[in-house]
C-alpha cells in the first residue's frame, strides 16, 4: 500500500522485509534496511490507480519468509540467477528499464538453464511518462544504500518446504486469427520480418494497415500466450519498436480484439480471487484500461514498464502466492 516516506522508514527501521516502488527522489530518502526498490510513480492501490511522486508503494514480505538475501546482478551475471535461487523460495527482481540489464535479461532469460525451476517474479523500473528520455530508471539495494541504473537488484526469499511459491499471470490477450509474423532476429525493434511466410516490412505493414497498437503481438509458448507490446513506430529508421523483444523463430499474431479493455481486465481479476504476497501490473493496462482514479481492481501494486514472471512479459498482471 502507499505510504509516506516517513511511514516507510518506520517500517524499515522496525526490521520489516520490504519491496518498495516509488519516484526516485522518494526512494532516495529511505533509510537503510531489508528492502529493495525501483523507480515508478504509478500505482494500483485500494484507493484507485494513481500517479504519486511523494509516496511509495510498500509490499511487506510475509512472516513465512524465513530468510532473505539481497544483491545486485550485473548483465554479465544473469546466467548465475538460477544457481543463486533459494532451494525453497522465490526471487524478486527489479530491473532498470532501458538498461543493458533490461535488454540482456529480456533476450536471454528464455534460454537460461534451470530458470523455470524456482519462481522469479519482478518488474521493469521506469519513470514518470512526462520524464521519458530525461530521467533514468533506477533500482535500489536498501541494505547497502546503493542505487544502480545498470544492474538488476535481486531479493532471494527462503520459505519452508510446506509452502509452494507460485506465480500467477493475468493476461487479457489471446492470439488473433490474422496474419502470421516471424522475425529473423531477436530484438526490441524490427524493420523486416516474414508475414505469412513472405519477406515484408513490419513498418510498412503497421503504417498502411492502421494497426491498433494497443493490441500486442502474441506468441504461443506451449499453450502460454506471451505478449510483445508495441512501443512506437519509428519513421526515421522505418522500424517498429517493442516493449519486449520479439524472438527469432517464434510465430506471432496480433492479439484478438477486446470489446472492452477495462471490463475485460476487471473480469479477469475477479476470476482470480487470490491473496498475493507480491503483484504488479503493466503501465499499459493502467493507461489503456483507464485505471487512474479507478478503485475497481482488487490486486494492487506498482504499474510497471514490464512484468517478470521468469521471463519479461508485457501487458499482464503478475502475482506471487504462497500455496500450501
Amino acid at each position: 500500500m502507499l505510504h509516506s516516506v516517513d511511514e516507510a522508514n518506520r517500517l524499515i527501521t522496525a526490521g520489516r522485509r520490504l519491496h518498495i516502488a516509488g519516484d526516485a527522489a522518494a526512494l532516495a530518502r529511505l533509510t537503510r534496511g531489508n528492502w529493495i526498490g525501483g523507480t515508478i510513480p504509478y500505482f494500483l492501490t485500494a484507493e484507485g490507480g494513481q500517479a504519486d511522486r511523494k509516496r511509495v508503494f510498500v509490499t511487506e514480505l510475509p512472516p513465512e519468509v524465513t530468510e532473505i538475501e539481497i544483491d545486485f546482478v550485473t548483465p554479465d551475471q544473469l546466467a548465475d540467477i538460477p544457481g543463486a535461487a533459494p532451494k525453497h523460495g522465490f526471487s524478486l527482481i527489479v530491473v532498470p528499464g532501458m538498461s543493458d540489464a533490461h535488454i540482456k535479461y529480456a533476450v536471454g532469460a528464455h534460454d537460461l538453464p534451470g530458470l523455470f525451476e524456482t519462481p522469479v517474479i519482478g518488474w521493469i523500473a521506469g519513470v514518470h511518462l512526462d520524464d521519458l528520455g530525461r530521467a533514468t530508471p533506477m533500482v535500489f539495494n536498501g541494505q547497502t544504500g546503493e542505487i544502480a541504473t545498470d544492474r538488476l537488484v535481486a531479493l532471494r526469499a527462503h520459505v519452508p518446504e510446506r509452502l509452494m511459491p507460485r506465480i500467477g499471470i493475468i493476461n487479457l490477450f489471446q492470439q488473433g486469427s490474422g496474419d502470421r509474423f516471424e522475425f529473423l532476429e531477436t530484438g526490441f525493434a524490427a524493420q523486416n520480418c516474414r508475414i505469412n511466410g513472405a519477406n515484408a516490412s513490419i513498418y510498412e505493414y503497421v503504417k498502411t494497415r492502421d494497426v491498433d497498437l494497443r493490441r500486442p503481438l502474441v506468441t504461443d509458448m506451449s499453450g502460454e500466450m506471451i505478449n510483445v507490446s508495441f512501443q512506437a513506430v519509428d519513421d526515421a529508421t522505418r522500424s517498429v519498436r517493442f516493449y519486449a523483444p520479439v524472438l527469432a523463430g517464434a510465430e506471432y499474431r496480433q492479439a484478438a480484439p477486446l470489446d472492452d479493455y477495462r471490463g475485460s481486465l476487471l473480469a479477469h481479476v475477479a476470476a482470480n480471487p487470490v491473496t498475493p504476497v507480491f503483484s504488479c501490473n503493466c503501465i499499459l493496462n493502467y493507461l489503456y484500461a483507464d485505471l487512474a482514479g479507478d478503485k475497481a481492481l482488487s490486486i494492487t501494486g506498482p504499474a510497471t514498464f514490464g512484468e517478470i514472471a521468469y521471463v519479461l512479459l508485457n501487458q499482464t498482471l503478475v502475482y506471487l502466492e504462497l500455496a500450501t
Partner: protein, 74 residues
C-alpha cells in the same frame, strides 16, 4: 511422487521435446520450460538429449503437480 515421473528413456519425452504433444500444463513454468526445450531441440537437434534430461529434472521437482498430467499423456 518423483518416482511417478517417466524415466528420461520413455518415448513421451521425445514426443514432448519434438512438439508432438499438444497439452497445456497447469504450471506456467512447465509450459515455458517445455517451450524452451522444443525451441532449442528444434534449432540444435544434437542438444535434444540434454533438453530431455533438463525437462525430466524439472518435472521431477514438480512431480506432485505434474505427474498426473504426464500420466494422462502416455
Amino acid at each position: 511422487m518423483a518416482s511417478q515421473i517417466p524415466p528420461p528413456t520413455d518415448a513421451l519425452w521425445d514426443r514432448l521435446v519434438s512438439g508432438a504433444v499438444a497439452h497445456r500444463f497447469s504450471l506456467f513454468a512447465a509450459n515455458m520450460a517445455l517451450a524452451r526445450a522444443i525451441r532449442i531441440a528444434s534449432s540444435e537437434p544434437a542438444r535434444k538429449p540434454t533438453m530431455i534430461a533438463e525437462l525430466h529434472q524439472f518435472f521431477s521437482k514438480f512431480a506432485g503437480q505434474l505427474a498426473p498430467e504426464l500420466q494422462g499423456l502416455r
